[in-house]
């Protein structure tokens, strides 16, 4: 579904991603793990077209993403959440979700300013969809609350909720459970499985919480210093000596935190 061909990204001489090739199959949960600074988020930002690769290409369903603009990516069926929660913080939870549906709504300015029936209808449908997503995340009672007033864990949920509003084919989740408590993590774990099993969404996941990664992933790629050092099923990756070496210390830090 999503294929990287020898992707290389350099920032002023620093190589963030080096000749990375990946093939993400449809309908799976695919995780990218690796120590901080391994280039994981850079990969996401290339898919979102915020960065342009120095060399190599990314293909989505056979289509080269090189000439797609950032705001057009979602129309191809790729949506994402952000590592540091990039929400519209002064907007309500409901409005954040509705904005997630932006690319699917018509935007004729004349019919909007006259509030024609067609606009009322699509707006009501959008609201219904948002209510479903709120229900799915258990956020219904916060629908009218400003996002910035919510605890961090809920904000992350809204971020992910916004990304699934458009029924994407592929969703990119950048550290979805960072900063969440254990109960919230558990809930999100179920949710990620639901995305795959019930909604048929392919999930590309970056995460440091190894228990989550091992539980949900179908396939894992391990990166370090911009390069792929291992890949395979969760069991294979756990046994891989290169991975254990890269993670020594990293696992310890996680355990303390």
């Amino acid at each position: 579904m999503l294929r990287f061909n020898e992707l290389t990204v350099q920032f002023a001489g620093l190589t963030a991603v080096s000749r990375l090739s990946l093939d993400i199959p449809k309908g799976r949960i695919y995780s990218i793990i690796g120590p901080n600074g391994a280039g994981k988020t850079t990969v996401f930002n290339c898919i979102s077209r915020f960065y342009t690769p120095t060399a190599g290409t990314i293909e989505f369903e056979g289509r080269n993403l090189s000439h797609v603009k950032p705001h057009q990516v979602i129309r191809l069926g790729i949506s994402r959440s952000f590592q540091n929660v990039e929400l519209f913080s002064k907007m309500s939870v409901m409005d954040n979700l509705l904005t997630g549906l932006h690319s699917a709504l018509g935007h004729n300015i004349i019919s909007i300013s006259l509030k024609l029936p067609s606009i009322r209808k699509t707006e009501a449908e959008a609201r219904k969809k948002a209510e479903e997503v709120l229900d799915m995340f258990g956020l219904t009672r916060f629908a009218d609350e400003k996002v910035e007033n919510l605890p961090y864990g809920y904000q992350k949920m809204v971020d992910i909720g916004r990304a699934i509003m458009v029924n994407p084919k592929l969703i990119l989740l950048d550290e979805p459970v960072a900063g969440m408590n254990s109960a919230e993590t558990e809930k999100l774990c179920e949710l990620i499985l639901r995305l795959r099993d019930q909604m048929g969404i392919t999930v590309l996941l970056i995460e440091h919480d190894m228990s989550l990664v091992m539980k949900v992933s179908d396939h894992i790629t391990v990166m370090n210093f911009g390069e792929k050092i291992a890949e395979g099923s969760p069991a294979e990756v756990q046994e891989n000596p290169a991975v254990i070496e890269a993670y020594l210390g990293e696992v310890e830090v996680d355990a303390e935190a």
Partner: protein, 334 residues
């Protein structure tokens, strides 16, 4: 929730009835009708600016320039070409819109202070052009205007201004509360996330500029017909700053807030004019106090009660979820 909407609707209807009855409450005094007419014109400009600055986060220090573009477009079309009001007023909006597109296309690539300085330049240059392009604008002496016969009295034209203001308010409310308004807010809060949700950031900034300029231009056109005279001193850079002050005091990202600000800033000079120089002092103090104590503007005062209720619920919430799932804690961090 329902009660609040009903209350608001009642308040709006009462306010509209008051405005319609207003000329008779003040004995059709031209001065007092003029106060409300100017408040309405400023309200149109402030609402438009609020869409751009309050919703979209794009600071414009040149909105007075679009008001002036509107006044001169209406005046020149009427005086030199003899066009009727139903052509000149929309044309005032269109000319302002087209000019905003020309300056907007490069300007939307600027951010924050740079955008403010660019629009400041625009706001400064329009009165200069009006002053020096003598063949069209008649320079310093200005252009005298004539209202159409059907609405030539102050009373009749007062209602024209009122009607247009109400229509513009309705249109801007629709835009602000739509997917378009959400996209503007989204751009203000996070351009990256906005792009990721499919919003063409540069394109929408341009649209904001055009909408804001279009309606402000219409406000300018109304002004030309109300005063029946346009001159290069009507809307200077001070007007642009006043418009910004109106939306800050009234409430950013709120159409009603812009109206509150416009009314306040038209009424303050009325009461303060007796003491020379006090107007600007009062306005300056008002802006500082609002920024310090109610950064969301006067319009947010009604939200105080609702907010405290909501906060209490959120504070109680995380506790409940942790208590509900004690068994899941041990195996979460393996």
């Amino acid at each position: 929730m329902k009660d609040r909407i009903l209350n608001r609707r009642t308040a709006i209807v009462l306010f509209a009835i008051f405005l319609v009855a207003y000329p008779f409450l003040v004995g059709q005094s031209s001065y007092f009708m003029g106060l409300v007419a100017m408040a309405a014109i400023f309200a149109i400009a402030a609402m438009s600016l609020n869409l751009l600055t309050g919703y979209g986060g794009q600071i414009s220090v040149g909105q007075g320039g679009f008001l002036m573009l509107g006044t001169y477009t209406a005046a020149v079309l009427q005086v030199k070409l003899g066009m009727p009001i139903w052509v000149t007023i929309p044309a005032a909006g269109l000319v302002a819109g087209v000019v905003s597109l020309i300056i907007g296309l490069p300007a939307v690539r600027l951010k924050g202070h740079f955008l403010a300085v660019a629009t400041l330049g625009f706001g400064l240059s329009i009165p200069e052009i009006a002053l020096n392009w003598k063949s069209v604008t008649a320079g310093y002496s200005g252009l005298p205007m004539m209202r159409p016969d059907a609405v030539s009295s102050d009373l009749a034209f007062f209602y024209v201004i009122l009607a247009v203001t109400m229509i513009v308010t309705w249109l801007l409310l629709n835009i602000a509360n739509s997917r378009l308004g959400r996209a503007f807010l989204a751009i203000r809060d996070s351009e990256i996330a906005a792009a990721a949700t499919g919003i063409n950031v540069a394109g929408y900034k341009t649209i904001m500029f055009i909408i804001a300029a279009f309606f402000t231009g219409i406000g300018g056109g109304l002004y030309a017909y109300w005063i029946e005279y346009v001159s290069p001193n009507d809307f200077t850079i001070i007007t642009s700053f006043f418009l910004l002050a109106m939306i800050v005091v009234g409430g950013r990202a709120s159409i009603w807030g812009a109206i509150v600000g416009a009314i306040l800033f038209t009424v303050i000079p009325h009461f303060a004019d007796a003491y020379i120089g006090i107007t600007n002092l009062v306005i300056g103090i008002a802006v500082i106090l609002i920024i310090l104590f109610r950064p969301s503007g006067l319009i947010s005062i009604g939200e105080l009660f609702r907010k405290s209720d909501m906060n209490r619920e959120i504070e109680a919430e995380p506790l409940r979820s942790e208590q509900a799932n004690p068994s899941e804690v041990p195996d979460a961090k393996v």
